[in-house]
Amino acid sequence: MREIPFEDIVEAVREMAIVSNSILPPEMYDALKKAYEEEESPVGKEVLSQILRNDEIAREEMMPICQDTGIAVLFVEVGEEVRVKGGSLKEALTEGVRRGYIEGYLRKSVVKDPLRRVNTGDNTPAIIHFDIVPGDRLKIRFAPKGGGSENMSVARLVAPADGREGIIDFVVDTVDKAGGNPCPPIVIGVGIGGNFEMSAIIAKKALLRKIGERHPDPYYAEMEEEILRRVNELGIGPMGLGGRITALDVHIETYPCHIASLPVAVNIQCHANRHVEKEL
């Protein structure tokens, strides 16, 4: 058994909360730069230039890219031979989120009860997805998610007969309806298969993939490209103010499913596409 001290995990998560919110992944920044060069709409270009400038200021000053520093979403792979010394893993992750949001001057955007809506004051609890894997490592992926783009996400159980085309139409239609609300240019995570809850989880997981990285299966890689092309024909453009660039990329994740179902989930990610990972 390999032991990892409780405090090491707290510190790692604290830092990830602050860094992910202030520094955009470099490939995302590059994709926005390319979008700026390619955008034909003058208003769209203006928006993209402000987004780029904003990302630079945030990085230089280590301040949040966006004031909505999100609810913290963590994907955690726990090696079977790992043990936390001095506390529980879940507590350590939660404490890291708490310290990161308080000490990093990040906005606290979590309410304790979905209907009575009183702020918890420290942005906890986080949404944590655990996975048990072989080995003695602990891998944490941290992705804060804002409300604007999360609110435009949709899950649906389509008929298996709707197939590939039905799914593409559903994704394109979801993006069309979202318009400027999710702060385009967006990245689209599509979860296909599994069941009701699994489709949504893999759609979110798909967003952690690097911009420009295609699905390893050529069948789905081609589908990603087709969706991207069709979404960029919608004319929504940066911030919905019209233009050629509505999405920067589409990532599909799949999972086997029941003979009678075809679950599909579309998770929309805004241009503040923040995520970091760390292995302990």
Partner: protein, 186 residues
């Protein structure tokens, strides 16, 4: 693309009527912040016929819930939140003299009608550009509902705060007009 238009708050009818969809505008003066919960409270006061904690005549409301200020800063990141959630309250506020709102995303038909009727304007600021926009905010004063934390009403003094006219007082709508120009899909 045309240059920036520079305007000062409070806004007059004349200034509002000169603004057109797509104009890039730099605002100098005071803005009031309010989002979901603050709107709900303002509306309850209006329904009861009680006075509001702010005089909204000629003013602009900015839909924002800023991040906390780091030491040495007046405010943290402060970009716009999605506007449609306030649609239900906006026409009434325009009726009472509010001249403008700043947010992101499309407005509903009831708001677009109210803009024409009461000569007001809807601006968008770039969503997710909170660090950039914070640079134009020079001072922050609490005004009401401090218990709401990031959702409280604050008075911001801004200099050359960059926005784009999304819906003008003449019925123009940037979302529909511009999307058409670039739409290839049916």
């Amino acid at each position: 693309m045309s240059d920036y238009k520079r305007i000062k708050t409070p806004l007059t009818d004349e200034v509002v009527l000169d603004l057109r969809v797509g104009d890039r505008v730099l605002i100098t003066g005071y803005l009031y912040t309010a989002r979901d919960s603050a709107h709900k409270r303002l509306f309850e006061l209006i329904e009861k016929g009680e006075p509001l904690p702010i005089d909204i005549k000629g003013q602009i409301i900015y839909y924002v819930g800023p991040a906390p200020a780091k030491p040495g800063h007046v405010i943290g990141s402060a970009g716009p939140t999605t506007s449609y959630r306030m649609d239900k309250y906006t026409p009434k506020l325009h009726e009472l003299g509010l001249k403008g709102t700043i947010g992101k995303g499309q407005r509903g038909p009831e708001v677009r009608e109210a803009l024409k009727k009461y000569k007001a304007v809807y601006f968008v600021a770039v969503g997710g550009a909170g660090a950039l926009l914070a640079r134009s905010i020079k001072s922050v004063e609490p005004v009401a509902y401090e218990d709401l934390g990031p959702e409280s009403i604050k008075r911001l003094y801004v200099e050359e705060f960059p926005v784009i006219v999304a819906n003008d007082a003449h019925g123009g709508d940037i979302f529909e007009e511009e999307k058409k120009k670039y739409r290839i899909a049916k």
